[in-house]
Symmetry: C2
Subunit: 331 residues, 2 copies
Amino acid sequence: MPELRRDPIIGRWVIISTERGKRPSDFGAEEEPEIGKLCPFCAGNEDKTPSEVLAYGASGREKNKSGWRVRVVPNKFPVLQIEGNIDRKAEGMYDKMNGIGAHEVLIETPNHNQEIPDLPEERFEEVLWAYRDRIIDLRKDVRFEYILIFKNQGMAAGASLQHPHSQLIATPMVPVRVRQEILGSKQYFDYKERCIFCDIIVQELASNTRVVAENDHFVAFEPYAARFPFETWIIPKTHDSHFEDLQKHEALSLSRILKKILHKIRIVLDNPPYNYVIHNSPLKEAPMPHYHWHMEIIPKLHKIAGFEWGTGFYINPTPPEEAAQFLKEAD
Amino acid sequence: MPELRRDPIIGRWVIISTERGKRPSDFGAEEEPEIGKLCPFCAGNEDKTPSEVLAYGASGREKNKSGWRVRVVPNKFPVLQIEGNIDRKAEGMYDKMNGIGAHEVLIETPNHNQEIPDLPEERFEEVLWAYRDRIIDLRKDVRFEYILIFKNQGMAAGASLQHPHSQLIATPMVPVRVRQEILGSKQYFDYKERCIFCDIIVQELASNTRVVAENDHFVAFEPYAARFPFETWIIPKTHDSHFEDLQKHEALSLSRILKKILHKIRIVLDNPPYNYVIHNSPLKEAPMPHYHWHMEIIPKLHKIAGFEWGTGFYINPTPPEEAAQFLKEAD
């Protein structure tokens, strides 16, 4: 059973793999690329994954057989375990709980080489519905406080399989970064009685120096204090704290703008590894007037040094205004 | 002039290089290793660096000539600029200030291949004195609020030159991670009237499952909620909030234990890239009963995925207890 441990000083929870821990000899060698190996996410190899929890496919399709367009399966090597009790307790002055949670893989397409920009809009829209449907299903489990949806694209960004996929981790606590965002936006709301994210959208659209793309329902822009070169956020124009409240007509808009941004990033930065993550409200929060869900996309372009790790203080060599210009012009 | 910009939501400051910004074509290619190139940090090449601000050497040695043991020079490509006013102001709802600060390189030895574990104890002790002397000198500049001292060892950890060196950055604000630590330790102090770091030391020495080494004045241990495999902290046993208060007899102890830990890490993990950073009090704080300076050492063993970047929520595949055992046994 993995363990969740809380840093006593700043309250940050960490997942510790207490079983099959990595020994010194397990580090160092690069993981092998998978060329020539059987891909468990490809159509026809459905028996190589744990049994699916969700799939969209042709009507009459049999479970765990081909014929799907999007397929969600439990991760074969989950970082948290679905069965058991949370059992939060002290260890002297420290806090821990059992590593309870869900860890799922959302396979975005049956085709091994079909990246998001290559998918038709309506097909990627289905991936977004799969994100939503899994949140709706998993939030019934009262043990979970938060669901993280993210994508690691490319080995350098942490992906271990090349086949296009996203991941989902349900956790029994709220991650520290999300807590900080909610706290910060609450302080702003208490003072201004406005949502800080809504205010940012207004200012970004007015100044138009960092906006990369815009459609009826979403804006994509480079944040003013971007930590990383070409860091890009996508945010709904209308206030909403919960991603899973996505309306039908908004989903296609989101699919369009995300595909567009990833296409632009691929062209401008020569197909870089990247990560994206959805910052969403905690599961047990009612709609909040101060928090506003959004996506953060981070191309992995340079090494992060000790300075950044040790301090949370970043050096960004590319001004977001210049990054926005490059992305805006790319087609 | 670089810019310091504040994230409006969580208050994190970022350095943005507004001039000579990196363009898309500047990313991608790995920096070339420097083999065969002239090393500006080697003895005899003193004219290849900006003029030194501090050096310990033979008496009668001429400035910017060989004969030094430790030498501190301004960084040739500083991320912050020493001249100018801070000029903090608004940009609409955002905050920024001029990128004022100091960025120095502390060359730990005149010998290109003499890593810290290879240096005699008294020689590395001089590097620690150089850290201290630069803090004492720079804190006279009222524009600065914080001084970061850190080391990037190995290209994968962000070092651009191989010659053993540390770095120092003086900033006009306190980095967010340090602010969080001070805030968290203050909350603990308000409740318990004890320093949380002092309590951690007591518990770690009593349980003895995560302690790697100990001497008269310092303990080195794997933190309970370590973010990274083999993350190691070194902390003074006696409460002190300010690194620069280091006593003469403590400096040799610190040199010994740091050399020992870096030696163990080199053996156990096959000479990995690593970072260390000193977490110290802000310059304008008087001695604090709740904060306790320490060093954090992080070997760079695996890739950090989007999950970690996007959430501040880490997955550590090696339990700190096992890491401590490996390091303890290595000699």
